[in-house]
Symmetry: C2
Subunit: 501 residues, 2 copies
């Protein structure tokens, strides 16, 4: 079963964002400036991979949500690790700042420059290097697009252990750099467990040759783990090896309507015992999410009524008869015990794709009016939708929400991965407005800190959350992180103004 | 289903080993020596936790295989993290060397001193701190014995994601420190994926407060990963949080006899498609392993004949009817296609326990004649038993193997985790003999390096393999590790003479 990828596309409304540096009043670091001799050197390393045309650079200077805009004058597109190494060694010697960039599908402004950082694009490093069908270990360049990796693996009877809405554009190296979680984490675990090896380049140009493909290797510190989730601040990921699960024979998807978030939690606890080893996704959406998606989509909604909460459950197993029996037993129990009000079970691949569409389209739908403020947080289950309600109330009280143009906010929506206690809180807006941002921050972060959650569950820190890190990490822990950063990147040239406060 | 724990017990034959420092001609580092004022300080911190009696220290100075023996004069038994912090701060200021010790069940001499290092025992830090039955997250002291953690979790409907033969003695902090793999890795993944948080104390006494219990938390570098597998060389693990899987409703175990290792590999590939999500163990033992176990065990062997290879397969699932159907379909296919010669399926918990006994008793059986040389390596599947045969041939050619007392070697055996490409090569001996060691090293390490395997799959480096690290890691990588060690432990007081060359 292959779901249609929504990818991440530039919205129809093209609103030039303000320069990040001006909007947030950031001072440029004491980095070198690019001179002709630097360009000459780069051209000697990557003759066809030096981009300096301003219009060509435009979409790489800006994130896809039009929230952050940098001022880079140069993008480099190396084709192999050796070129990356030479580029980094030069930049380190010249103290030129660099922002590594994958598919540029991030949500926190981590992959675009702030000032004139060199954009180091991995797009031309896009080869599958090796696949072993006995062990299921894939080795590939960092710039391989996730969808391409997954498509290739499916021809071999396997799947990539990670899946997410941006799969049509995002790159697997970027997925590692941001420690992406996505839709399959519940079943296949995090990248810290599935990634077996990382090849990378430190700020100094030193190559990190950690491309092991062994499932077990206890020879020394597991340094590759530091690259996972470091958002290009410790080194540039150029390749990876990862253990991939066999493609499931049977995939089933159900879409359920529920009256309350309490019922959602009851359904989740029940799914753990009834579906256990075949449960591969448990996604939740509130009524506002689904209404927003309906508004921008001509497809018929899965259920005739919009319920306060909708849940999408996916099972992936090896025996379709067994899986269907488990799933129908589970759904019957939910109906009998009054946990769900309504539900539909996909009968074929098209229906499966359509049900998934309603979950995966929500992030895109939230941007359709013009823009979106996105928060990605971990919270204890009971507090998850308290945050959505509290945010909504706050924006209404401040008179920021309405159906006409004078109000910046269209609606506040919540959706997320129940199995991982991961909520995506989105505030859909007609335009970015400082009053909305001020209403949201530090309100959202304080709510999360109060409930001992994480201010970034899976989307990372980037530019947006660098200064919110203290809501989830102690001063001491931040100090340890800064020390590690200096250890590997003494001139602090990699992805500056981001990640750490 | 609870299997009987074999634990790790001191052998009946008590052979004092040589002092590690003398046997391997190691020079003491320039550390401080313990004075009365140090003892006074320690007594002020842990009044009832300062052990100085030589006979009390004996079994903590030596590993259970009688291979390594240190000369510590002091063991400290703190009861909480604050005490560990004060002890470490003092030791760092005084440049006193420290070896953290859990259950002392390691196989590479990592948990015993070499000279007069202070033994820092975690045995008195043995409390379950918290368990959340909705998320399945356990938070506990590092000194909790693995069996106790698992027993507690079973009363809550969950299991610990790690299982291994030494569970009756080993401690969960030590499991993390050595990144133990064990019998369930195939199903539940490695500790890098299941551990959510680590609390630890650095050499300086600084507390590492990383005890997150969030499944997803992308706020900064994942520093806790550095503790996992660092064998007490970067810090002392004092607590941890870990995500635990639900206790499976149905557990089935089959024991199969096969004619060759090729057939074992065929059976493994088939198990991936037939058993898929319910396969929880795929363990292989050769004929010599089983003969050695039979020799020391009064229990009846599972199959009437000893086959060249035996395989133990375990499934763990939520629906016993489904699991039995999958398993019987799998076994029928194996018989029909001539992949297995004989097989038995456990009918009840006692039979399950008895079948597992044959796999878990092998490590202990290998020590019964007096001692054992143990190698734990990763190798590409086809090369796994080539190493066993080559080692056996080599020892025979050097006239070291025989059935009478004049020969040091009893037999060479192989067993391991097929799903993880992890072979345990054991040379059972009547006594430790330098000729055997010289025949084995660097032979075994060179074989592994030639086949791009790992010289330590799951048992770590400790004292035994510190100098073999270069067979699996480059000079550059070792340099990076040494730099990291200096970064966190500037006086190099934590677990010296180990881990790094």
């Amino acid at each position: 079963m292959i779901r249609p990828s929504l990818g991440v596309r530039w919205g129809a409304i093209r609103a030039y964002s303000k320069l990040t540096a001006e909007h947030y009043n950031v001072a440029r670091g004491s980095y070198g400036s690019i001179e002709q001799s630097d360009l000459d050197f780069f051209k000697s390393i990557v003759p066809n991979g030096v981009v300096t045309d301003a219009s060509d650079l435009e979409m790489f200077n800006e994130d896809w949500m039009h929230k952050y805009r940098g001022q880079s004058k140069v993008m480099l597109k190396p084709q192999n690790t050796e070129q990356v190494s030479k580029i980094m060694a030069h930049c380190n010697a010249r103290k030129l700042a660099v922002v590594p960039q994958g598919g540029n599908t991030g949500l926190v402004g981590g992959s675009v420059p702030v000032f004139d950082e060199i954009i180091l694009s991995l797009a031309n490093m896009n080869k599958i290097r090796h696949f072993d069908p006995v062990s299921g270990v894939l080795t590939a360049d960092a710039g391989v697009i996730l969808q391409n990796a997954d498509d290739y693996l499916r021809t071999q009877g396997f799947i990539f252990p990670l899946d997410l809405g941006a799969k049509g554009s995002c790159q697997i190296g970027g997925n590692l750099a941001t420690n992406a979680g996505g839709l399959r984490l519940l079943r296949y675990g995090s990248l810290h467990g599935t990634v077996l090896g990382v090849e990378g380049v430190f700020a100094t140009g030193e190559v990190f040759d950690g491309l092991s493909s062994l499932r077990k290797d206890n020879t020394g510190y597991d340094l590759k783990q530091l690259f996972i989730g470091s958002e290009g601040t410790l080194g540039v990921i150029t390749g990876l090896s990862i253990i991939c699960p066999p493609k499931p024979n049977a995939v089933n998807v159900a879409f359920l309507g529920l009256e309350s978030f309490d019922k959602v939690q009851e359904a989740f606890v029940k799914s753990r015992s009834h579906l256990a080893e075949i449960l591969s996704s448990f996604e939740c959406m509130d009524a506002s999410s689904l209404k927003l998606a309906s508004h921008h989509c001509s497809l018929q909604a899965p259920l005739s009524d919009v319920h306060p909460f909708s849940v999408l459950i996916e099972t992936s197993g090896s025996n379709s008869a067994h899986d269907e029996e488990k799933l129908s037993g589970f759904l019957e129990a939910l109906m009998e015990e009054g946990i769900i009000t309504d539900g539909v079970l996909a009968q074929d691949e098209t229906q499966i794709a359509n049900l998934w569409y309603w979950r995966e389209f929500i992030p895109e739908a939230s941007t359709k009016a013009g823009g979106v403020y996105k928060y990605d947080v971990s919270l204890p289950l009971p507090a998850m939708w308290e945050l959505v309600d509290a945010t909504n109330d706050r924006l209404i009280k401040q008179n920021l929400v309405g159906s006409t143009d004078e109000f910046p906010v269209v609606d506040t929506i919540g959706y997320g991965h129940i199995g991982d206690s991961n909520l995506h809180l989105n505030v859909a807006v007609r335009r970015y407005d400082d009053r909305v941002e001020q209403a949201l921050e530090p309100f959202v972060f304080e709510f999360v800190a109060k409930h001992k959650g994480s201010v970034s569950a899976e989307h990372g820190l980037g530019f947006q959350k660098a200064h919110a890190l203290h809501y989830s990490k102690s001063e001491h822990m931040i100090g340890l992180m800064k020390a590690l950063k200096r250890h590997y990147d003494p001139n602090l040239i990699l992805n500056p103004y981001k990640y750490l406060p």
